[in-house]
């Protein structure tokens, strides 16, 4: 199995452990990744708040670069915000021919052409649909049995494009968690919003949303995420919100591939666990 790989900006900076663990896990699962050469920022939510055309041109440049590569016609994207931006561009050019033309007029500045023959896939889509789960099971070392793990999906890998899971009651992480021997924490916050960039620009609103999720996760041994924005919001505000609410809301938050890698015997430092902002110590202690 081979995929083109689009890490996105966060995976080179604040979520570098997501990048490290994704690459390591995929290697262990015999999946080859080839990074798109000279990829650029997808525009995040900034481009769509600023210019309609730009919000499609930035992802489109990446799709055009991917089309030039020969090894695969599928792009694997770990970041949910990047995934959505690339996906919406893949989808809109099938429907809006005028916009499709405009995008190509702009891309011509760099002698690039977008044809529309690559498919954008989220990491969770590939892990839950393409990868042989027996490989996870076969390599799992029983470290995780006895743990209860809360799967947190966030929004943009589920909505508005409903590709691989139920957009209201997602379950695609369940089988992966169970393959490690751990139990799935039952909650209804898995598909709720973490506040996204509101935690920075409108903290009073953003923190409320993060708080709701952390409170609902009480009782779980860890939360797993598949998005750098969700991860940052859930990890970096725990102390602040605990203080405000007067209850201890601290909990380890890991990226899904970090957790799967650990279950398969990788050592914490190799999956970048030293880079997480939440205290992952309690999880590691319990896992051994």
């Amino acid at each position: 199995m081979k995929y083109l790989y689009y890490p996105g900006c966060s995976l080179e900076g604040t979520s570098v452990e997501y990048n490290i663990s994704t690459k390591l896990l995929m290697e262990a699962l015999d999946v080859q990744l080839e990074e798109i050469e000279d990829w650029n920022c997808c525009g995040a939510t900034a481009a769509e708040s600023n210019s309609h055309l730009l919000s499609y041109v930035l992802p489109a440049r990446n799709l055009a670069l991917a089309e030039k590569m020969k090894s695969s016609k599928q792009i694997l994207v770990p970041c949910s915000a990047c995934y959505l931006n690339l996906k919406k561009t893949e989808e809109i050019i099938k429907k809006d021919k005028i916009l499709f033309e405009k995008i190509n007029i702009v891309l011509a500045e760099e002698d690039l052409v977008l044809k529309g023959d690559v498919i954008v896939r989220h990491l969770l889509d590939v892990l839950s649909k393409d990868v042989d789960i027996e490989k996870v099971k076969g390599n799992a070392q029983n470290k995780m049995s006895g743990l209860t793990i809360a799967p947190y999906y966030g929004c943009q890998c589920l909505r508005p494009f409903t590709v691989f899971d139920d957009p209201e009651e997602p379950h695609s992480m369940d089988a992966l968690i169970q393959a490690t021997g751990a139990g799935v924490f039952k909650w209804d916050m898995g598909a709720q919003c973490c506040g996204a960039s509101n935690t920075t620009t409108k903290p009073e609103a953003g923190m409320e949303l993060v708080g709701r999720i952390l409170k609902a996760a009480k009782g779980a041994d860890a939360i797993l995420t598949v998005c750098p924005m969700c991860q940052m919001n859930l990890e970096s505000n725990q102390k602040k919100i605990s203080h405000k609410e007067g209850i201890d809301l601290e909990i380890p938050v890991l990226f899904l591939p970090q957790f799967l890698g650990l279950a398969m015997g990788m050592i914490p430092k190799d999956v970048g666990l030293n880079l997480n902002l939440s205290n992952t110590g309690p999880l590691i202690q319990k896992a051994i």
Partner: protein, 181 residues
């Protein structure tokens, strides 16, 4: 920019009104939105104002900038309206018109895109610094200082200084601006 009147606003948001023409005011969007308690008017009310050409009232509310793009309203709208995209189009209009009450959010997005234009990718530290400087409020950065230091100590952000000269994606940004007029 000085005062923008209702007519000028309407001209900007014509395409958004077009998009939500078949809204039946059922309020499913409001019931699905995680941010309503921080909005002065509800999403359903916003669409009503838009449909009845009350653009000034619409833009005197900050409700649409509270949208965190969770896409629940889009998913559940019984008319199949792309309401999250409509929210984005309103944010774009506020940014284009340089409306004073949305300065804070516009500056955040401008700082972000400036970093992308220059380097092709976001340099988080450079963009946040740019954002703080452009807000011209010396107190704001302190709220982010402890997270910033934590990220620095883990090597997740690096103090970088912008390269001078032609930006990486300048040609694309320029062509987009020409096409959008």
């Amino acid at each position: 920019m000085g005062k923008v009147n209702n007519e000028q606003l309407l001209e900007q948001i014509g395409p958004v009104k077009e998009m939500i023409q078949t809204c039946i005011q059922c309020g499913t969007c409001t019931a699905s939105c995680p941010n309503t308690e921080f909005m002065d008017i509800t999403p359903r009310h916003m669409w009503r104002l838009l449909l009845t050409d009350h653009a000034e009232a619409l833009f005197s509310s900050k409700s649409f900038i509270m949208c965190s793009s969770c896409y629940y309203c889009t998913l559940r709208c019984p008319r199949g309206l792309e309401l999250t995209n409509a929210m984005s189009l309103l944010k774009q209009a506020a940014s284009r018109l340089k409306l004073k009450q949305f300065r804070h959010s516009s500056l955040f997005y401008d700082a972000f895109l400036d970093s992308v234009k220059k380097h092709g990718r976001v340099r988080e530290m450079e963009f946040m610094t740019h954002y703080f400087v452009s807000m011209k409020n010396p107190v704001v950065p302190f709220g982010y200082a402890s997270l910033g230091l934590k990220l620095l100590s883990k090597g997740k952000i690096r103090p970088e200084f912008g390269s001078s000269g032609k930006g990486k994606l300048t040609a694309l940004f320029k062509r987009v601006a020409e096409l959008e007029g």
